[in-house]
């Protein structure tokens, strides 16, 4: 075990932390699976509106690898299938019946899981609908089943603003978590690394076997997968590592032990836009409405995930597959008089150009206002302060913009994901979309192989 102290980065002082108490919400009336959550797949529907489905019924598959199936988290009927621009499949909405009748999959005894062959585990995860929980670097897409991962990272720490303390929700799930870890260990010749917060107390994490545990302390992005990979087992061109969220490791264990597609999930309900903030016990694909029961969402931005890396899904939206947090913040967009002149005691900044930098408050109200117009990059010295990886961010950005893929790879683009640059985008006075530009570069590289 090692402890990594991350120095570069920043924890945003944003209002709206959830209380660390688990609240069991009423079973959701509708849930949805969103194919757009899975980067790079080409979805093909396996159901149509009106079909009745069970827990574990195939909703859609990936055309590029038809073994990868995406299963229904609830029993009921398919209420709607919505499409977006260019007929992209957006949501498959299920009206639940509350019975949770389930398809049956293969079961294993806890002791035998560690001895299973890689191919058997892959088969079980594919048919049981949990393969999508295993993602890979580079590109942050669903892991390629034929690849040999150098190592596998389990993320049990999240330093995103207002993120869930996963320590709390793993309580009592030792058996399932260990089964999940054992299964992951069969998938790699290398190690499984369990990355936790420095103060992780849950026995589920501290007594995990068959893995190497590392602790990460310091400001965000100490909890990002890229930070873990960079510090523990760096990747070069040609390397692949896989990574899984801690809650999904539990679900992998549950699938193998019980033979049903596990759907239970804890989601932190956060942000100043909701009055009641808690850790909700719910199922995959729950709706924002159900999670924020009763809160008025008019004029609020509803985000699945955190303010830094999440996705705006709207008040009628659903939690994305990989997220364990929703954040509701005011939409903002009011025009302030003479913004360049005001002292700004209540305006949050990482720069020293507002009074708030000198008379700091414990937390600030942040809305979705860009707080300025887009300009060419001027303050090129800012970015490196927020990325704890050995990457010249400004030059990587320029390489991507110039479509200089070779340089971008040499500077380390394959190691990263757009979320690693969220703080750069946040801090940039020119309002440059740093992460989005990096993502364009990754997409080009992935497409061209």
């Amino acid at each position: 075990m090692a402890e990594f102290q991350i120095k570069k980065g920043k924890d945003l002082k944003i209002k709206g932390q959830a209380a660390k108490e688990v609240v069991e919400l009423p079973f959701p009336s509708t849930i949805a699976l969103q194919p757009q959550d899975f980067r790079g797949i080409k979805p093909r529907l396996a159901v149509k509106v009106g079909d009745s489905v069970k827990v574990g019924s195939k909703l859609f598959i990936d055309k590029t690898n038809e073994d990868i199936a995406f299963l229904s988290p609830a029993s009921g009927t398919v209420e709607a299938i919505t499409r977006g621009a260019k007929r992209a499949l957006m949501e498959i909405v299920i009206k639940t019946d509350g019975n949770q009748d389930a398809e049956a999959f293969a079961t294993f005894r806890a002791e035998e899981i560690a001895r299973l062959a890689k191919s058997d585990v892959i088969k079980a995860l594919l048919s049981g609908g949990l393969w999508p929980a295993v993602r890979q670097r580079p590109f942050s897409c669903i892991a390629d089943t034929s690849a040999e991962p150098k190592s596998i990272f389990v993320r049990a720490v999240n330093t995103d603003p207002l993120a869930m303390d996963v320590d709390v929700v793993l309580e009592g799930l030792e058996k399932e978590f260990q089964a999940g870890l054992d299964a992951l260990k069969t998938l790699t010749q290398g190690e499984v690394f369990l990355c936790t917060a420095p103060d992780a107390k849950s026995k589920v994490l501290t007594e995990a076997q068959n893995v190497i545990t590392h602790r990460f302390s310091g400001p965000h992005p100490a909890g990002n997968v890229s930070t873990h990979i960079y510090n523990i087992d760096k990747i070069e061109k040609g390397d692949t590592v896989w990574y899984v969220e801690a809650q999904d490791v539990v679900r992998i264990g549950q699938l193998l032990l019980t033979g049903t597609h596990p759907v239970e999930k804890y989601v932190a309900v956060t942000g100043e836009g909701v009055e009641k903030r808690y850790y909700a016990k719910t199922i995959i694909g729950a709706s924002i409405k159900d999670l924020t029961a009763g809160s008025d969402l008019m004029g609020q931005r509803c985000i699945s995930g955190s303010v830094l890396s999440g996705k705006s899904v709207g008040a009628d939206g659903y939690v994305c597959f990989y997220d364990s947090q929703v954040t509701i913040i005011p939409e903002g967009g009011d025009r302030r008089l003479l913004g360049w002149l005001v002292p700004g005691f209540d305006l949050y900044t990482l720069s020293n150009t507002y009074a708030s930098a000198f008379v700091p408050r414990a937390e600030y109200s942040l809305d979705a206002d860009t707080n300025g117009g887009e300009r060419a990059i001027v303050c090129n010295h800012l970015y490196d302060k927020y990325v704890p990886l050995d990457i010249p961010v400004y030059f990587l950005l320029k390489a991507v913009i110039a479509n200089d893929i070779e340089s971008a790879e040499a500077m380390g683009i394959l190691e990263v994901d757009e979320e690693d640059f969220a703080l750069c985008t946040f801090a940039c006075p020119s309002k440059t979309e740093v992460g989005a530009i990096i993502r364009q570069g990754l997409d080009v590289i992935q497409k061209e192989g």
Binding site: G332, R335, G339, N352, G372, G373, A422
Partner: protein
Amino acid sequence: MSLFAKISKEIEEKYFSKGKPLEKMFPLFDALDTFLLTPGKTTKQAPHVRDAVDIKRVMIFVVLALTPCILMGMYNVGYQMSVAEGLEYSVLACFGAGALKVLPIIIVTYAVGGLWEGLFAIVRNHEINEGFLVTGILFALTLPPTIPLWQVAVGISFGVVIGKEIFGGTGYNVLNPALTARAFVFFAYPAQMSGDAVWAAVDGFSKATPLAVAAIAERGTDAVEAIQNAGYTFQDVFLGFIPGSIGETSALACLLGLAFLLITRVASWRVMAGCVIGLVAMSLFFGLFKGENSLAFFSLPPQWHLIMGGFAFGAVFMATDPVSSSATDAGRWIYGILIGALVVLIRMVNPAYPEGVMLAILFMNVFAPTIDHFVVQAQIKRRSARG
């Protein structure tokens, strides 16, 4: 929505939005509109929240940092006039007389520079960049108070168009546009830009700057003595009661600006520290060679170099321009140190230009991308060697 926001929206929809008569003028409307009110746009993708700071505020903070130099410059221009005329002006009279000379220069710079900026924004259909607020005032402050206004207009036109816009505008320029403009007028109109007669706004009066005094002092003599014999004390030079370009004479005013830039973290301290280290090291090095036959300049100790000429102004406000300086931390040190060293080199061994700051910074502007290239290549090598 506030009343102002409503009015602005109405005007925009009536005249400046797509298909309306003044559609092409939108960048001008936008510049004025966002000057009065924040844009009020919301984020389209993650991250959903953004820092309160924007380029407008950053640029205006640089202008604020220049206030001591502007005020001191106005005062000193008036003070030099009183010295030239042999009259005792009151503080207010000095300031007033100086302001009458300086304000027209600033107004012409902003009017002509702003015109170009606006023209390019309209033709290219992009926002007017607040960078020209900084470029304009920087350029004005590097001029002698006697410069004809038409030369100011020609100079800033060259700086904005050739120094910046042909590269794509603020953020893409290689050279510092204010210095480009100054270099242009310096070489195009040497009679109005250099010599001993241009520093006091009184006809027929000439007085050498301390730098010029040091440059022409006889071989083997002591430069400090020469400067003091010419009537300049260390204190005068530090406070800025000496002839020189409008904004650059007072090292104290530059120090105040420096403090403001460092406290607000708007400018890079590495560049400034590098400049000082380079200058001190190089002047000490030349000091080793002082002797009977050496230039008098060799005997000038570093503390004089620091406060004379445009060094303080250049190191604090010109070299730190993030766009035309190095963009890596290591690169910033190298860039700064080389500027400091070059300043001394040009001052001492190039008799044609007693002042080396402008050329030193422009020269290093050209080299900054090369420095960055090597720093980034070193980082890439380190990455691939880590195994």
